[in-house]
Amino acid sequence: MNKSVFFGALAFTGLAAAGASAATLEDVQARGTLNCGVTTGVPGFAEPDADGVWQGFDVAVCRAVAAAVLGDPNAVEFVPTTGKTRFTSLASGEIDMLARNTTWTFSRDTDLKFDFTGVNYYDGQGFMVPADLGVSSATELDGATVCIQTGTTTELNLADYFRVNDMSYEPVPIETGAEAVQQFLAGACDVYTTDRSALAAQRAGFENPDDYTILPEVVSKEPLGPLVRHGDSEWFDIVKWTLYALIAAEEYGVTQENVEQLASEATDNPEVNRLLGTEGELGAMIGLNQTWAKDAIAAVGNYGEIFSTNIGEETAIGLARGLNAQYTDGGLIYAPPFR
């Protein structure tokens, strides 16, 4: 290891960076790669596979943006961040966007000076109980012992929920999620509570997943979505509308399989035509080429396909669409018109 070479390189990059502008899109295009912040690993949402390739529900958003901006879903530099380092990485410019199941809250949006570009997963806090406890609803949990992670919003939500429903409980505070699962399996508590997506993912790793039930009640709102820095509205628009393009594609029946065919010539549906660039000038309006949305959909599939390949009911994680169904199916997933 030689320090001096590094220092020399540092000095040069420092000089080069002094002329950099605040326009994220230009930076990304000049660099040729998108720096996308992800988690260090959440089953189904972001995890490197055996070959070291990142896979998952949040990862697909990064790949879609890279495909839209650079035309290549693999031109992504994944920067793993922890809960502690994620916001500083984004604020300091180390990453261009953060797609890391981060809850959209007032203070993060305003005080921390970020912009949430939408919601790609509506999560909420839930409860898991052993099936032989014979409980079918959270309202029957009066007097239960509950395993919770300390210092999280789940702890506060839990207290609120039990107070509103006039029930009592005994908390078993635990430091990490993995530890909480071990305690729960060992019978140290009747109930384990955290976000429902995490409950499902962790249950998938149990020896006998069917012995445990996730109760139907959702006791908090946890809208998760990608976010960018304040102050670059063009980039914000690109990330936001790439996400909406994936959502709209599902609504209009555009899939990874038929997108090439639908984009080859104008179809009967003008909305699809505008989305895929065979009609109108939508690409030019956000500073990208005409096939931006087609590239994104061809790279990762539409929203429904991303959901079902990574966390849907066919996977080991087995999440139902629920709130994350299209609004036409009674869910909350809704894209504004492409016009």
Binding site: N2, S4, V5, T40, G41, G52, V79, T82, T85, A316
Partner: protein, 431 residues
């Protein structure tokens, strides 16, 4: 006995009784067991308890290893194969061994490069550690850091080559100018080295592919390789730095003395993890946007500073243990400060400090796992992050952590054994 006659006695033995073997209970293994394990009610109870604990441990561990499976591609496969025999799911090690050792982003066709660098370590380090080997081999040791950098990071060989040339020229200039005084020597060193690096930079830019290996970014390093890189680099850098700090703290010049005191006390008063957070998070705010000051380098600097403060205090202990007569003897021989330190004081002080230095080195090596907190994928980071949170392997704890323990134990035990050997070699007093 006076009225007893030989005739009135039926039998008188004329020969000596051959020595009988001692009773079974007073000999061999049984005696040892009686004396050591069952010598009283308390010890008997403790022995039985101990045996039970050993049985309990083995009855869990042995079936876990013997019934374990190396087949299967996910924890669900494993559970099917194992059934309820209590075996371990070692398939995760079989599938992810490369990620545990090299991280998940190091290109798999290049694994031979860090492996070769690791093997070369055993060729180049013994001449530093084992006194009996020929001194000339030290040249190899001097070349090793540059070679290892080239192998692990790749890129043109010109980069490490000119780094080496700069150092050599700097040293040559230093020896010339040192005759005037030390400060002039230092200045000459800096000037010569910087000029060489500057010229080298032009040449490297002109021929970026000269003898180039495929370059690998620092952020793609991971696994146990990262622990070894951090451990080896930081220990070797912090030892000289620690010696300088220890000597500086004893200096008679107030400025040097207080700079060293403040540095050591500050670093010792701060947890390593906060320094790592500074390296990872806070520095990003101070650097101009878009700069990518190599994260491994930042971490190496922080860990080195941290370890050097501890090593400085260990060596100061060694210096303080030397009788004052040693210093006076050096002065009375007419040696100057550098000679006195190099020939008389430090060899003795360092020998006294060996256990302490090794203690710091082993602790430091294990502390490198802290980088997992700042989202670097060292061995612990790999396990906690990507592997334990993959859909395939979520829930496999014991097998992975056992593998990490084995890897760390082998290295740390090796260091410890070496240091004890070294202490015996250097033992010159009569005990």
């Amino acid at each position: 006995m006076s009225d007893t006659h030989a005739e009135s006695v039926a039998f008188v033995r004329k020969t000596e009784i051959p020595p009988a073997p001692p009773p079974v209970t007073e000999t061999g293994a049984i005696k040892w067991v009686r004396e050591n394990l069952f010598s009283g009610p308390f010890n008997t109870i403790m022995t039985l308890l101990g045996l039970y604990v050993v049985y309990w441990l083995l009855s869990g561990v042995i079936p876990w290893i013997l019934n374990g499976t190396w087949e299967g591609s996910s924890i669900r496969d494993c559970r099917e194969i194992i059934g309820d025999t209590g075996g371990g799911c070692f398939a995760v090690l079989g599938e992810r061994w490369n990620q545990l050792l090299f991280g998940f982003e190091y290109p798999s066709e290049l694994y031979w490069r860090p492996t070769l660098a690791f093997i070369l370590l055993f060729v180049t380090v013994p001449q530093v550690l084992f006194i009996s080997l020929p001194r000339k081999l030290l040249i190899l040791t001097g070349l090793y850091p540059f070679l290892a950098y080239w192998l692990i990071w790749g890129g043109s060989i010109l980069i490490p080559f000119f780094a080496l040339v700069g150092l050599v020229l700097g040293y040559a200039a230093f020896t010339r100018a040192e005759r005037i005084n030390f400060a002039a020597g230092l200045a000459a060193f800096v000037v010569a080295a910087v000029v060489a690096w500057w010229l080298g930079g032009f040449l490297t830019a002109a021929a970026p592919n000269f003898l180039a290996l495929e370059a690998v970014d620092s952020r793609n390093m991971g696994g146990f390789m990262l622990n070894l890189i951090l451990g080896i680099v930081c220990v070797s850098l912090s030892l000289p730095l620690g010696i300088v700090l220890a000597l500086g703290r004893q200096s008679r010049m107030p400025l040097i003395k207080y700079v060293c005191v403040v540095f050591i006390e500050f670093v010792r008063g701060v947890p390593l993890i906060t320094l790592l957070f500074v390296a990872n998070v806070v520095l990003a705010y101070f650097l101009p946007p878009g700069t990518n000051f190599d994260l491994i380098l930042r971490v190496i600097i922080m860990i080195t500073l941290f370890a050097s403060a501890y090593i400085a205090e260990v060596i100061r202990g060694g210096l303080a243990a030397l009788p004052k007569g040693q210093y006076e003897a050096a002065d009375s021989l007419g040696l100057d400060y550098a000679q006195a330190m190099r020939l008389i004081i430090l060899p003795q002080a360092l020998k006294i400090s060996i256990p302490g230095i090794v203690n710091v080195a082993v602790g430091l090596f294990k502390d490198t796992t802290l980088v997992s907190i700042i989202s670097m994928f060292d061995l612990v980071g790999m396990i906690r992050g990507p592997i334990l949170s993959s859909t395939d392997w979520v829930g496999v704890y014991w097998e992975l952590w056992a593998a990490a323990c084995v890897l760390f134990f082998v290295v740390c035990y090796g260091i410890s054994q070496y240091s004890q050997w070294l202490e015996r070699q250097l033992q010159t007093d009569h005990r």
